[in-house]
Amino acid sequence: MRDPEKTADAELAFALGKITRRVLDNANGALGEAALSRFANNLLEAGDEKIGTDVLMVFVAGFQEGDPPERRAAGSER
């Protein structure tokens, strides 16, 4: 993704993925690993052929990255 426009799209998709994760975490509490994987797979399936695969993958990467900083810090201390 060296094209500046594609880079901007990727940054936006990543940011939207993170926001989506945070919103869901706020609605239902933190998602467990299994629920997270199921959701990500279903999201890829729902977006398949509707959204470019590279953008979709970056979105899901943002979704999986979307842990609030405090939870990431707690996880890395273990």
Binding site: A8, L12, A15, L16, I19, T20, V23, L24, N26, A27, N28, L31, A35, R38, F39, A40, N41, N42, L43, E45, A46, G47, K50, I51
Partner: protein, 154 residues
């Protein structure tokens, strides 16, 4: 890009995203019965559409309505931005999404018979509905802001 046009495109992007999230959330068990399915059931109750065009056809009608509403509500965003220029896109979207949830789902949807009412729905479903509205408005605001920002010529 002109602000209203950017907001409408943002609304359409958000409409597609929230639909994908509702589908994925429902299938994975992360979300309970989502608003898009409530709306499909409502359309079918009013028109008998499932017998005529099936569940997929009724879902397409609902998705089209959803996108239209997304674009219409997004068009109001530039006016809100002028009222609160210091708020970030996330803050503005959260407030706007909460307001849309309270008016549309708290007041209008139960009267029309689309939903059962938020107290009857219970805290989990009500929380999910609120979250989807916040997601819709935050994504709209972020995409609109990106599209209407001056081009970076570095």
């Amino acid at each position: 890009m002109q602000q209203t046009k950017a907001a409408i495109i943002g609304g359409l992007v958000a409409g597609v995203l929230t639909t994908a999230v509702m589908v994925a959330g429902r299938k994975s068990g992360v979300l309970t019965k989502t608003l898009d399915r409530d709306a499909v059931d409502w359309i079918d109750r009013l028109t008998g559409s499932r017998k005529l065009i099936g569940d997929s056809g009724t879902s397409i009608v609902e998705f089209t309505n959803h996108l239209g509403a997304s674009a219409a509500f997004a068009a109001a965003l530039p006016a809100l931005r002028k009222l609160a220029p210091s708020l970030s896109a996330v803050e503005l979207g959260t407030l706007y999404g909460t307001a849309l949830y309270l008016v549309n789902i708290g007041c209008i949807a139960p009267v029309l018979g689309i939903t059962e009412g938020e107290f009857e729905a219970g805290p989990r479903k009500a929380g999910e509905r609120w979250a989807i509205h916040v997601l819709q408005a935050v994504v709209t605001a972020i995409v609109a802001e990106r599209l209407s920002a001056p081009a970076d010529n570095d």
